[in-house]
């Protein structure tokens, strides 16, 4: 079965990013396809490579990036939500004349159309958030 997942909450907030991660992992382990994880609202904060959690804590951003590289996951960050919160990739850096970018490996910035497309193409769309 083809799943798509929405994450509406930032890392280290309550639990949504953790639950979404465990759900995606379980779906992949169960032989399902996860065609996209869409990060919306504060969820875009899952996509910055500049976080440095304590060494004995889980690294939520790296964990997503590693899962993405293992399973060729499509991790999409909403562009409008990202602009508001300072999540920047090289293209956005250039377009908005910023002095840096911070997008983590495995993530890409794109538009809300990607969420609509996921809703149409996936068999199930599951939302996690606050």
């Amino acid at each position: 079965m083809k799943f798509a997942v929405v994450v509406n909450e930032g890392p280290y907030t309550h639990q949504a990013s953790d639950t979404a991660f465990q759900f995606v992992k379980a779906a992949l382990d169960g032989g399902h396809e996860v065609m996209r994880v869409f990060f919306y609202h504060d969820g875009v904060n899952n996509g910055t490579r500049l976080t440095t959690p304590p060494q004995d804590d889980r690294n939520i951003v790296n964990r997503w990036a590693e899962l993405a590289s293992q399973h060729e996951l499509d991790l999409v960050v909403c562009v409008a939500a990202a602009q508001r919160r300072g999540i920047v990739d090289p293209d956005e850096q250039k377009r908005n004349s910023k002095d840096a970018n911070n997008i983590a490996d495995g993530f890409r910035i794109s538009g809300l159309g990607q969420l609509i497309e996921a809703g149409i193409q996936a068999d199930r769309l599951v939302s996690f958030g606050d």
């Binding site: 799943f3 309550h14 759900f23 379980a26 169960g30 399902h32 068999d123 199930r124 599951v126 996690f128």
Partner: protein
């Protein structure tokens, strides 16, 4: 493959998401309590009677890892509430026609 899976991730002491879910979910649907939502399943809690009523025509489960993370044991749950893991969560999502998240 017709019923909806409803997930509730808020404690009933924090928000009324579960009450709203119970009011609007249809017979045959499955309600899965996750994250702080698991607090609602404690036997003798404020939602006990509502959950028992709901279970006359709906199924109620809690996410086991979230239960254990909060120090709640399975024998302390409202009778009839099932316990599933993340694999069970995925299975429920796949078996249902769609997933509605109450937050």
């Amino acid at each position: 493959m017709s019923a909806i899976l409803h997930t509730v991730n808020k404690s009933p002491f924090e928000k009324n998401s579960l009450a709203t879910c119970l009011r609007l979910s249809l017979p045959g649907s499955h309600i899965l309590l996750i994250e702080d939502g698991v607090y609602a399943a404690i036997r003798g809690g404020s939602m006990s009677d509502d959950l028992k009523r709901a279970m006359s025509d709906r199924t109620v489960s809690v996410l086991g890892p979230d239960l254990r993370a909060r120090g709640i044991t399975e024998d302390g749950l409202v009778d009839g509430v099932g316990v599933v893991g993340y694999d069970g969560f995925v299975h429920l999502a796949a078996e249902s026609s769609k997933v509605q998240s109450w937050m």
